[in-house]
């Protein structure tokens, strides 16, 4: 198994009355709640943490893009990645990912990733996402365009990276007379593409067709199993190859401590911060057209509860998170390896408003007590 250290860079200083006063941590949560003076310290602590992850042996460090919210304060993940090219030495740097449909011009993404790849000596992983439903409100991008723009932007970026320019590009949403990016990326044929998602049939099929690693995010372990089974079956039956473990990634918040009891006690508030505050999306989660009617019907039938309805115990039992002693965590990760055939763990140590000393402890324990047992 390979290990990637992921950071959302949340704004941890939400007010005491957040739960009762605000129905969303996104879109219309007043930005007066952000304090730039404290933000200076928060950003730099998070950056130090990502740098430390390389020292502790993580294979890569990961960042992502979110807008106008308290859940993740990286509107430009490429800026953070640029800093990481200078502050890390040899680990991979995953941007998982750039939210393609939100951007008027995918060429900018193609150019920035190419820059980062050249500067870092070919250490970039380029994730592509659609962006959350909330971000279609924040950026006023029509959510009914989301899938078309995602696929068009993907195709344009891959072609810009791999075919000699200049060339002309015409698709519904993007039209260019001169696609001719300078620099070109260093990795051949291009930086690896990852597709994070929540397991919709459309996304899993697309990832399997392109052989891109598919990453399940914040889902019950049973849903992760179904998505990976689907990926592996599509790979074999529809696309004629056997999916490898390094095509199946999972993003599961993890907390390790001396015993199960201590781990649960120390992790509880921070995990609930993530699922009950950070992922509180009010009316903004599912804008019209963001999902197909078929996907929505499947979601409604699956009976999955909203994050806000899940207790800390639900989150552990259903496998949204892994919390426990080193033995417990190793046992649960072994299930991912043996039963789910998943070979990439994207996690980290810093969740919600977890105090810095517990972040450091979680990180150290995971790296020294869990990771070695799963290195194959």
């Amino acid at each position: 198994m390979k290990f990637y250290y992921f950071h959302l860079m949340p704004w941890p200083h939400l007010p005491e009355d957040f739960d009762t006063k605000y129905d969303s941590a996104w879109v219309d949560l007043p930005n007066s709640l952000y304090d730039p003076e404290r933000g200076h310290q928060v950003y730099n602590e998070y950056l130090d943490e990502l740098v430390a992850a390389e020292r502790y042996g993580w294979d890569g460090v990961c960042v992502n893009e979110h807008h106008q919210n308290a859940y993740g304060t990286m509107p430009s993940p490429n800026i953070i990645a640029a800093m990481l090219t200078q502050r890390t030495k040899s680990c991979q740097i995953g941007i998982i990912g750039n939210a393609l449909p939100l951007h008027a011009d995918p060429l900018r993404v193609a150019e920035e990733i190419a820059m980062l790849d050249v500067i870092s000596g070919g250490r970039i992983i380029s994730g592509f996402v659609r962006g959350t439903g909330m971000e279609y409100y924040s950026y006023n991008v029509n959510p009914t365009w989301s899938r078309d723009r995602f696929y068009e932007a993907h195709d344009l970026i891959i072609k810009a990276w791999t075919e000699p320019g200049p060339f002309r590009w015409v698709s519904k949403h993007y039209k260019h007379n001169y696609v001719n990016i300078w620099p070109r990326p260093l990795q051949k044929p291009h930086p690896p593409i990852w597709l994070p998602g929540t397991g919709s049939l459309e996304t899993v099929d697309y990832a399997a067709s392109k052989r891109y690693p598919f990453m399940m995010v914040f889902s019950p372990v049973e849903h992760q199993r179904k998505a990976y089974d689907l990926y592996r079956r599509l790979a074999e039956e529809k696309y004629g190859y056997e999916a490898a473990p390094d095509q199946l990634a999972f993003c599961v918040p993890t907390y390790v401590a001396e015993t199960d009891e201590i781990a649960r006690k120390e992790a509880r508030d921070a995990i609930l911060w993530l699922f009950h505050k950070g992922l509180k999306t009010g009316p903004f989660g599912m804008p019209p057209g963001y999902v197909t009617e078929r996907s929505l019907a499947a979601m409604m039938q699956s009976g999955v509860k909203g994050f806000g309805e899940l207790s800390f115990e639900d989150l552990i039992e259903q496998g949204y998170v892994i919390v426990g002693s080193p033995d417990t965590v190793i046992e649960k990760l072994t299930y991912y390896v043996e039963r789910l055939h998943a070979g990439i763990m994207v996690s980290g140590a810093s969740w919600g408003d977890l105090p810095r000393e517990l972040v450091a402890k979680n990180m150290e324990m995971f790296a020294t007590r869990v990771m070695p047992a799963l290195r194959g």
Binding site: Y137, N142, T144, G282, P283, F284, P288, E293
Partner: protein
Amino acid sequence: MSAYEELFVEVHGVKTCVRRAGSGPPLVYWHGAGGSGQWYPHHDLLAQHFTVYASDHPGWGASDTAEWMDTMQDYVLHYDSLFRTLGIERPTLVGHSLGGWMAAAFATTYPTQLARLVLINAAGFPSISETAPDFFAAAMRGGPQFAKLIFHKMEVAAAYFPPDPSPEVRLRRYREMTSTARLAWHCWFDEKLPLRLSRLTAPTLVLWGAHDGLFPEELGHKYAEAIPNARLLILPDCGHMVPYEDPQAMVQAILELPEAQTP
């Protein structure tokens, strides 16, 4: 409730459902973001005086979805073809809310093809209110807050907004909202519409429920000022949902409107 027939008309490969009843001169009724998929009491009242054609827009009700239809012009041209197919000539065109914007767009494109134009709490007229609610967020939130935004008569709202909608209703609304978003996600108006409204020639009624949380009365006045010789009627006891809140007043006001002279 009188008997109506359900016609399925294919226009440019898009199957469109039209419910028809009554006799007399033709009247076409265009629903808003909601209000599709069935024959309503306001259709029935109109059918006592007109041959009523109440259609489900493509993307709504029993009509096909055509994802490429994402501008008002797509709908205007679609309906021009549909009218030809059904042999509807010089109808009275009634549009509510999103359908009102559509009707205004149709009238500016084909000003001489209408006997009358009726715009009811219509979208489409430019407004830059800092405080206007975001329709889509409000609609997705749903519940009593949304009902209060669009209804003044809350006893009427109760019939249309059950507190716990079934999965079927939720899916139907998501489809309607998706079709609405194709047309109106970025904004609910067309900056060029006021200028184009000067092209209108048919007798026009601008009918407005006074307590509209989405499109305030002021927009009704602006519409009426921009349309040559338009008649403005404000209903003081209605909200956005005039056809549901006071269908009798709606029909009465339409009947009082003269027809255009035959050219």
